[in-house]
């Protein structure tokens, strides 16, 4: 289907689920995850300040937009970040991101 992609999400408890998301809406991945009923605090509302939307990209990392300095600085402060870490609030997915796989990491308090 046009402008719909499927991505795979692993929740904190290990549950894996594929979800279909539209790519023609102006929403960040954080907003999409929240709308899909995933538990994400997103305290700062998408300003790359709180890192509660931390995700680990297990497939398709290189197809994402480059992280900004602010995002890298924030990721750098996270004790549990890895080279595959991103902040979902800074990601906007397009059709090329079909098949993206990620694990939700962000803190719940």
């Amino acid at each position: 289907m046009e402008n719909i992609i499927s991505i795979t999400i692993e929740d904190r408890d290990g549950t894996v689920q594929d979800i279909e998301i539209p790519t023609d809406v102006n929403l960040s991945l954080m907003e999409i995850l929240k709308a899909s009923a995933y538990d994400i605090l997103a305290t700062c509302g998408g300003m790359a300040l709180c890192a509660t939307c931390h995700v680990q990209i297990t497939e398709g990392l290189d197809l994402l937009n480059e992280p900004s300095d602010q995002e890298l600085d924030m990721l750098d402060t996270l004790p549990d970040a890895s080279d595959e870490s991103r902040l979902a609030c800074q990601l906007r997915l397009g059709n090329k991101n079909q098949g993206l796989k990620l694990a939700i990491k962000g803190a719940l308090q």
């Binding site: 605090l41 305290t43 700062c44 509302g45 300003m47 300040l49 709180c50 890192a51 509660t52 890298l72 600085d73 924030m74 750098d76 402060t77 996270l78 004790p79 549990d80 970040a81 890895s82 080279d83 803190a107 308090q109």
Partner: protein, 334 residues
């Protein structure tokens, strides 16, 4: 002791506007904020960013908005306790409240308004086994007194500016400093990173890049930290003290212990007047939640106005509130 009508926790845009709305109803305000200046995240985090959704301003820089708001509330002579975190809340016999700050400031008020935004920023804790066991005496999330570490063996963790700067500083104070970072490079200031590399080359510090923290170990006192390197081998770093410096993350802080109904770090309120489940305590702005909540500055302004109409009955129980427009009445300074 400070005597006021309304104690506002948080001096961001919404807390400041509450002073204006309260002032129109002749209620005095005292504001307490953990940050050293007014303006909340607008002044602290994005003072130069333009905001586009303030009515009447096609665009306005965050700090300009705060400066304007300070001018707007000047007639009502608000007082401030800045750089102080609110700690305790104590209900008095007559229903009023005594609010105490971390520096001991006592504020007696009829109404408490929580306009705390994201909350207060607290040190981020690493997920390390046994952290809580040694937290009290051997783990330090900030360096308050470097002398505490004189001739001690310390492990610093983190890759940001504060981790780099304290490593450089404490290299001359402590007996031995180990810096642990999960990545193979630093994003902090290049100068500080350069110094850290130099110290490591000279053998003055022990630099462990691409290492992850696993556990704190010791019988009664902290003795060593167990790490894992890129090859998944265990590595042990001796330590009397552990200093994790992973930046700050927004938390509710002591407010969370006050018995308020809280959902996902936000305070539930009644949209009739933005009152909480506790009488005389209101929550406005980004810190509250209700069905349909939008975290917008302008929503917070609206919440402040309605809150004041409701708070009036606690400040002036004998009086009847009559609503007046500023265009009719003007602004009558205190």
């Amino acid at each position: 002791m400070i005597q006021t009508d309304i104690c506002i926790i948080g001096a961001g845009p919404v807390g400041l506007f509450a002073v204006f709305e309260a002032g129109l109803l002749k209620m005095r305000c005292h504001l307490i904020d953990v940050l050293p200046q007014v303006g909340g995240q607008l002044s602290e985090i994005y003072p130069h960013k333009p905001i586009y959704d303030i009515p009447g301003y096609p665009t306005i820089k965050a700090q300009e908005l705060i400066d304007n708001q300070m001018l707007q509330i000047a007639p009502f002579k608000p007082t401030f306790s800045l750089g102080e975190r609110v700690e305790h809340l104590e209900k008095q016999e007559d229903g009023s409240y005594l609010v105490t700050g971390s520096d001991g400031t006592a504020i007696h008020c009829q109404v408490v308004v929580i306009a705390g935004g994201l909350g207060c920023f607290e040190p981020r804790k690493p997920d390390v086994f046994n952290l809580s066991l040694f937290e009290k005496a051997h783990v330090h999330y900030m360096v308050k007194d470097p002398e505490k570490f004189r001739d001690k063996t310390i492990v610093i963790a983190g890759g940001g500016d504060s981790a780099l700067d304290w490593t450089v500083f404490l290299a001359n104070v402590a007996k031995q400093v180990t810096l642990v970072h999960r990545s193979d490079s630093f994003r902090g200031a290049p100068d500080s990173a350069e110094k850290v590399y130099e110290l490591a080359q000279q053998g003055k510090i022990n630099l462990l890049l691409s290492h992850n923290l696993m556990a704190l170990e010791g019988t009664s006192a902290l003795q060593q930290i167990r790490l894992i390197n890129k090859a998944k081998e265990e590595v042990f770093a001796p330590a009397d003290h552990f200093i994790p410096l992973y930046g700050l993350s927004p938390k509710l802080g002591p407010i969370a212990e006050w018995g308020l109904t809280i959902d996902k770090n936000a305070i539930e309120v009644n949209t009739f007047d933005y009152s909480t489940n506790i009488e005389r305590i209101y929550a406005i702005g980004d810190i509250n939640t209700y069905p349909g909540k939008l975290k917008l500055i302008l929503s917070g302004y609206h919440e402040a106005a309605l809150m004041c109409q409701s708070a009036f009955k606690y400040v002036y129980p004998e009086q009847k509130l009559s609503f007046k427009y500023t265009t009719v009445n003007g602004v009558n300074a205190f």
